[in-house]
């Protein structure tokens, strides 16, 4: 039972981390593929998701609802709030920039996202202070424990399930709906998209909001693992960039697989290698693997030459 428990623990942690990296990376890939923006404020969406989630959870758990409802409201609500913030950011900054300048777009937007990131980090610090806000446990039910006959932290598995459901829903939306098809069209040919009657401005705002939605969901559903704090976004930001570099920029299918690979690698490194390599082992192993892969396949594992950003 001891060994089985360890294996379970390893898988649960890997899948939770991997699922969350996938959620983050998918949004990053989407924004890069459709809007050609390297978003370095993506981690702050994660942070906002955690904060919004915390406040929504504390408010709803006092209402005496059935135990499973507050976390659901918390995660969905946090995602929607972050989507709203992201939409407002897109309208006020990127749209304004797009109107004024065409040249140096990638560089200018990169700098803009850095600025937004700093404003959100410090703004949240001013508003919410430096205290960590977390919960010890999000999902109350013990159904998994009784099912499997030993203690298993359900939060991590449920976080993974949420990642799977969100990404699955998102992929369906992208491939099966008219709006999803329009998003893919914009990523492949903006002029062609505008000629068939697609409102580019609307799609850009939608895409940015969707990336915020996914990151917000990630931040809120990990509240019991990583508590909300103003500077918590840096780690998931770097990790999701790892994923994009690993699989090739802008591939959504690749980001999902890449997130899982990273989750397993990292958990493996922290569980089994930190004895030899110290506390930085997970970063060391991840970067070493990424460098090796880039040496062999410079475009990333799934990198292609055709521009087909959103697939």
């Amino acid at each position: 039972m001891e060994v089985l428990g360890q294996v379970w623990d390893f898988f649960a942690t890997s899948m939770m981390r991997g699922g969350m990296y996938s959620l983050m990376a998918v949004g990053l890939a989407l924004v890069f593929g459709v809007m050609n923006i390297a978003n370095f404020a993506h981690g702050e969406f994660y942070m906002l998701g955690a904060f919004f989630g915390y406040f929504i959870l504390s408010a709803t758990s006092k209402l005496g609802l059935p135990a499973f409802l507050p976390p659901i409201i918390c995660i969905a609500g946090a995602g929607l709030c972050v989507a709203l913030v992201a939409g407002i950011i897109e309208r006020t900054s990127f749209r304004a920039l797009r109107k004024r300048s065409k040249g140096q777009w990638l560089m200018n937007t990169f700098l803009l996202t850095l600025g937004i990131s700093i404003i959100l980090q410090n703004g949240s610090r001013i508003v919410w202070g430096g205290r960590y806000r977390g919960v010890t446990r999000m999902w109350k039910g013990d159904f998994l424990n009784s099912l499997l006959d030993y203690s298993l932290p359900p939060d991590r598995l449920i976080a993974f399930l949420i990642a799977v459901l969100s990404i699955g829903g998102f992929v369906l939306f992208l491939n099966k709906t008219t709006t999803g098809r329009a998003i893919r069209a914009v990523s492949q040919d903006e002029v062609g998209a505008s000629l068939v009657g697609i409102n580019l401005g609307f799609i850009h705002t939608l895409v940015f909001s969707l990336s915020g939605l996914l990151a917000g969901i990630a931040g809120a559903s990990l509240l019991s693992v990583t508590p909300a704090s103003s500077f918590m976004g840096t780690m998931p930001l770097y990790k999701s960039w790892f994923v994009l570099i690993l699989v090739g920029m802008g591939s959504i299918g690749g980001s999902i697989v890449g997130g899982l690979i990273l989750g397993f690698l990292e958990t493996f490194a922290t569980t089994y290698l930190s004895v030899y390599l110290g506390s930085g082992s997970s970063e060391f192993v991840c970067l070493a693997v990424i460098i090796t892969i880039l040496l062999i396949k410079p475009n990333g594992i799934f990198g292609k030459s055709v521009k087909s950003a959103v697939e």
């Binding site: 008219t178 040919d189 002029v191 998209a193």
Partner: protein, 235 residues
């Protein structure tokens, strides 16, 4: 249908179009002729809202549409098939066509339009599951034209539709243009294939160095000595 008034267009400080005037009536086929670099594509792009004009106005069905975004003009019923085609390379042929009917809400109408386009270009139906980026140059051309037709536009603007097509396919394109007029579609066409174009067009404008230098019925123009010498290669 479409009226262009004193249009000036520039790329930065480089002025390309000077005082262009044009008037296209409902149901007409009008050709725009001119040597390479005369400014034909520039004119079409600024009509379609892809290039903001420096001065002048564009009217569509009596309404001032100067400076409107391409997607708005598209929804008003103007289809533009650009020289670069701008198809969606990583999507299938059929998805490209369906996107051509992006703002059409009626599913049954989309299906019947798709059927019509497939009847016009059977080649596209054979390749409907193929990725557009892997199609040959001529097939892409057909796809771009087909996509333009999917929304049943009132006005269709074609920039060199026969470029890169084999003689049989050029014939198909010109036949398509002819059938479209019977459906009360107005057509503006830019072509290097002057002979064939004057055959289907009712009127034509001749552009040189960013200005309209001549206009008239196709018959008049094909008889004109200057046009014969410069564009038809006859002495």
């Amino acid at each position: 249908m479409l009226r262009v008034e004193n249009l000036d267009v520039a790329y930065g400080h480089l002025q390309i179009l000077r005082q262009v005037n044009m008037n296209i009536n409902n149901g007409e086929i009008v050709a725009i002729l001119g040597a390479n670099g005369a400014g034909k594509t520039t004119l079409l792009k600024s009509v379609m809202g892809l290039l903001p004009p420096k001065a002048g106005k564009v009217f569509y069905r009596g309404e001032d549409v100067t400076g409107r975004a391409p997607f708005e003009l598209s929804r008003l019923g103007i289809a533009f098939v650009p020289e670069e085609r701008n198809i969606f390379q990583a999507m299938t042929v059929e998805d490209n066509l369906l996107l051509g009917a992006y703002f059409v809400k009626d599913k049954a109408k989309i299906r019947s339009n798709l059927k019509e386009v497939y009847e016009m270009f059977p080649r596209l139906e054979e390749r409907r599951k193929q990725l557009a980026g892997t199609m040959s140059g001529g097939e892409r051309q057909m796809l771009a034209i087909g996509r333009g037709l999917m929304s049943k536009p009132h006005l269709i603007i074609l920039d060199e539709p026969s470029m890169g097509l084999s003689p049989t396919n050029v014939l198909i394109v010109f036949q398509t243009i002819k059938t479209l007029t019977s459906q009360e579609v107005t057509i503006v066409i830019v072509e290097q294939n002057v002979d064939a174009t004057l055959n289907v067009a009712s009127r034509a404008y001749v552009m040189e160095h960013g200005a309209v230098v001549m206009e008239g019925s196709s018959q008049e123009l094909s008889q004109n000595d200057y046009v014969k010498k410069m564009y038809l290669g006859q002495s």
